[in-house]
């Protein structure tokens, strides 16, 4: 499953970069995030509650930051276990570009799902993922200073 898109955020690049590296900030804007802890400068552990169709599960997992070029770009690599609901894993390439007073955040996500999530949810999971991604960036934009919205392109 692939998702990509971009979003303008009304805050300077350095501020956006700091925010996406701040566990407290991330916990607030990641939809369904129950717990988020930074265990090293490049590693976070998280519990995220997700519902896909008839499935509801807490996904427990780890996210690593790779290829970090502050404050320009990084790659987020993660895997979450939802117990009997299955698992999700994937990576997201995130780039921050200056745009006047604001910042354009662009992302390319490549994700795989497995287990029950794939067996009964694969038809709806793309839509759910697109919605959650939109909510993440909406939340970020709202907190950092709302700007014109651009719907994420699947």
């Amino acid at each position: 499953m692939e998702l990509s898109g971009e979003r303008r955020v009304g805050a300077p690049r350095q501020e956006v970069w700091a925010a996406v590296n701040d566990p407290a900030f991330l916990k607030e804007v990641i939809p369904g995030c129950q717990e988020l802890e930074q265990v090293s400068p490049t590693r976070f552990t998280a519990v995220v509650r997700v519902s896909v169709g008839p499935l509801k599960a807490d996904f427990k997992g780890e996210v690593r930051l790779e290829d970090v070029v502050a404050p320009l770009s990084c790659r987020l690599v993660g895997e979450g276990q939802g117990g009997v609901a299955g698992f999700a894993k994937g990576s997201a390439r995130v780039e921050l570009a200056e745009d006047g007073e604001g910042t354009i955040v662009s992302y390319q996500v490549d994700a795989q799902i497995g287990g029950k999530l794939a067996q009964i949810g694969s038809r709806v999971v793309q839509g759910v993922a697109a919605k959650l991604t939109a909510r993440f960036f909406d939340g970020m934009a709202m907190k950092l200073g709302a700007e014109e919205a651009a719907a994420p392109a699947a």
Binding site: Q112, G114, G115
Partner: protein, 791 residues
């Protein structure tokens, strides 16, 4: 001898005895059996990975849940039951044992890793969520295309290149004949993966006696005797202490002609814990773990002469066996089935094949209705069309030029297989006439080239292997499939008749058809006959119900037992009536004297003598009772044949397919009950239409099954199925008793190629080449666009 005046039942549309309760919803299926109140329920923890090491299993949270009695892993299970191991005695076969619960490694999504034993089924489901299994995922071999590449991950270390089975054949002088003069026509056909999807998923209920040294095992299966033998071996429980009973079975289609690990686990746990244990799967589990089928690549190349006659044919067949060889058929069935049936009704004298079954990290495959035949006829019938298109000869005409003619029968095909009787050309001609084929071709050639619909017509002319006897299974190396069937006929003291057959119906109407066969061959009234089957405590041993064998193998055994008992009845009647036994004739449950309408005795009066319940003693030398047991071993195979013709319209804007006309002319030899034969053909054809147009189990590259539910696994509804025009030709078998041939699978076998060819014919008009299924709108649109773009 049966009296000439006996009212015959074979060939009559006798109403099915089963329908009065099935249609009222009163059938008793596995889950309808009231379980004892101390019954325990199972829930299986299944792998979410296609291939992974199992690092650890932590069941402590599950065990702490109120109502959970035990959680078992491979560690405990292997002490209770041996792994399943299918031995195929055939060169080129590499079997691998399958543990009842996965040990160390999982090999497909859905493989059972642990089992919860709980006091109610809901607690069992909740506890599944609490078992923590730590896996180390490994790269998986999933599709045939990927697995054929060098360096694909190995599913089993002991199976090099993942080739679990390989077999080849070449007729004498094939290579010289193939390279001689002639035009070469070739195509690669890709048959998608589907499943039988019976309405009732699988399940079983194990009832041990109070000291757990014997077991009554209810299971939704087509093969109770084979299950008993296999269970006995894996559990070490003596076979006489094991009784397997099939309740009403809500559809089998071959899916339940397999023996499964969950059945072993249920029986083993019941004996171990000395408690009744029940397990019923849900639809997701059914789609993940019940055998899958098809998933074949068939490449054909033929040399043909200018008239369209095939001079030599070469087939390269690859089938996807899945993660393990299944029991009892192993992984060779589809590969050899496709290879050996492929020449079908055609007079092809030079043939070579190589057939391979590859193991992959997907659900094991097995014997779904039709087995290799929907695929091999999709290939050979698709090739007939291509020969026609390339040579400018009508595809129907190509078939008529290649088909085995009536005056060639009995015919021995290039593989040495005998066709005793058949109507290959006659069925084709009748079907072409009923389908108004030539008129359609005329209309098609005059159609507006830019209309909204592209119309096409597709033919499938095929043979259906059925009723295979012991020789037929030996030749495939299957050691756990006996091939014979048996019957016990008993006239009770009351004069009523009990018939026990070694079959196990799953909706085929056996209680009706076997009564018809017995009545005609015993001279009994059909209403006096009660048929019972599916319980190993009372039914004689046999091969059970699959591969279109009931009428041929079971029917033959019924005929033999009827004749044996008939001789005893006649002897006693002759003694009672004071006439020579040669003058006794049987009719309407009476023994009468030939030529003397008034003189006779009823079966009831004869029974009174036989059971010593009469003033007249049994004649000297006769044994008490009126019972006969016979087995029947049918020939290597009996060959039914049929022609399906589908006419379709494809919407150029949407790619959707509408079946506008559907014609079937079918020949299953002597018809026992035309209502049931028609029903088999109707249902099978519906399944075949679904397989051609929409059904497909989809795995992603990681081996995740993406549609383990019936919202996403599309099946046909009544809206997708046309009215059929159906006609019969009867060419009774001369090799098989009774003249019967099988009819269980023909519908599917004919429909998949006929519909595929019809759509391919329609799209060939715009230059598109259709060679795979399912024929989904997205695929058809893509091919039409590709053709329009000129590549």
């Amino acid at each position: 001898m049966i009296a000439p005046g006996h009212k015959g039942n074979i060939g009559r549309p006798v109403r099915r005895r089963e329908d009065s309760y099935l249609l009222r919803g009163e059938g008793r299926f596995l889950d309808d059996i009231a379980e004892p109140k101390d019954t325990l329920f199972l829930g299986f923890v299944m792998s979410p990975y296609a291939r992974a090491e199992i690092l650890s299993i932590d069941a402590s949270e599950a065990l702490a849940l109120d109502g959970v009695v035990a959680v078992m892993t491979a560690e405990e299970m292997k002490r209770l039951a041996k792994p399943m191991h299918t031995i195929i005695d055939f060169p080129g076969y590499r079997g691998t044992p399958r543990p009842i619960l996965a040990e160390n490694q999982v090999r497909f999504v859905g493989e059972q890793v642990a089992v919860i034993v709980a006091e109610d089924p809901y607690i069992a489901q909740d506890a599944i969520d609490l078992v923590q299994v730590e896996y180390a995922p490994l790269e998986a071999a999933v599709s045939l295309e990927q697995t054929l590449e060098p360096g694909a991950p190995l599913v089993h270390d002991e199976v090099p290149a993942n080739v679990m089975f390989e077999s080849s054949f070449s007729s004498e002088g094939f290579e010289e004949r193939f390279s001689a003069d002639g035009r070469i026509v070739r195509e690669r056909f890709r048959k998608s993966r589907v499943a039988g999807v019976p309405l009732e998923p699988r399940g079983c209920l194990a009832l041990p006696d109070h000291v757990a040294d014997s077991l009554v095992f209810y299971t939704s299966t087509q093969i109770p005797h084979l299950v008993r033998t296999a269970l006995s071996e894996l559990l070490g429980l003596p076979e006489p202490r094991l009784r397997v009973v099939t309740p009403e079975v809500g559809g089998g289609f071959g899916t339940k002609a397999q023996f499964y690990t969950e059945e072993v686990a249920t029986a083993a746990i019941a004996l171990h814990l000395r408690r009744p244990v029940k397990w019923v799967q849900d639809r997701r589990e059914e789609l993940l773990t019940s055998i899958h089928a098809r998933d074949h690549i068939i490449e054909l190349e033929a040399t043909v002469d200018d008239s369209g006659r095939i001079l030599a044919l070469r087939a390269e067949i690859v089938t996807n066996a899945g993660a393990y060889s299944t029991y009892p058929f192993g992984c060779s069935l589809e590969a050899t089935g496709a290879a050996r049936m492929l020449v079908g009704p055609y007079d092809i004298r030079h043939y070579a094949y190589r057939a391979r079954a590859l193991t992959t990290n997907t659900c094991p495959s097995g014997a779904y209705r039709g087995v290799g035949q929907p695929s091999c006829f999709m290939a050979i019938e698709g090739l007939m069309d291509r020969i026609g298109r390339q040579l400018g000869i009508d595809p129907a005409e190509v078939r008529l030029r290649n088909v085995v003619k009536a005056d060639q029968l009995p015919y021995v095909n290039v593989l040495g297989v005998r066709y005793d009787t058949g109507s290959y050309e006659a069925c084709l001609r009748r079907a072409l006439e009923l389908a108004d084929y030539w008129q359609f071709r005329k209309r098609q050639s005059e159609a507006e080239p830019d209309g909204q619909f592209l119309r096409g017509i597709g033919i499938c002319n095929f043979t259906e292997v059925s009723g295979a006897g012991s020789a037929g299974w030996r030749v495939r190396g299957l050691t756990k499939v006996p091939g014979f069937d048996s019957a016990v006929v008993r006239i009770e003291p009351s004069g009523q008749i009990t018939l026990q057959v070694s079959q196990a119906g799953a909706g085929q109407g056996h209680l009706t058809t076997f009564a018809q066969v017995l009545a005609d061959h015993l001279g009994a009234r059909v209403e006096d006959v009660v048929v019972a089957e599916g319980d190993t405590a009372s039914a004689p041993y046999g091969t059970n119900t699959f591969a279109s064998r009931s009428a041929v193998a079971g029917g033959g055994a019924v005929i033999k037992a009827a004749e044996t008992l008939g001789r005893k009845i006649s002897r006693i009647a002759g003694y009672l009536l004071g006439v020579d036994v040669e003058r006794i004739e049987l009719r309407d449950s009476r023994a009468v004297v030939s030529g003397d309408q008034g003189q006779g005795v009823s079966f009831r009066e004869i029974a009174a003598v036989a059971y010593s319940m009469s003033g007249t003693p049994l004649p000297q030398g006769e044994e008490f009772g009126l019972e006969a047991f016979e087995t029947y071993d049918p020939p290597l195979a009996t060959w039914a044949n049929a022609v399906h013709i589908a006419q379709v319209a494809v919407d150029r804007r949407t790619g959707s397919v509408t079946i506008e006309n559907y014609t079937i002319v079918h020949d299953c030899g002597r018809v026992i009950n035309p209502l049931i034969v028609d029903g088999q053909i109707h249902g099978g054809t519906a399944q075949g239409i679904g397989e051609a147009l929409m059904e497909e189990l989809v795995y992603d590259a990681e081996g995740q099954l993406l549609n383990a539910n019936l919202l996403d696994y599309l099946m046909p509804t009544a809206m997708d199925i046309p009215d059929y025009r159906l006609d019969h030709i009867e060419s009774p078998s001369v090799d098989a008793l009774g003249g019967f041939k099988g009819v269980g699978e023909g519908g599917v076998i004919g429909a998949v190629p006929a519909v595929t060819n019809a759509v391919a014919d329609a799209l060939a008009r715009v230059g598109a080449n259709i060679n795979r299924t399912p024929l989904r709108p997205s695929y058809l649109l893509q091919e039409m666009q590709r053709a329009a773009a000129g590549n």
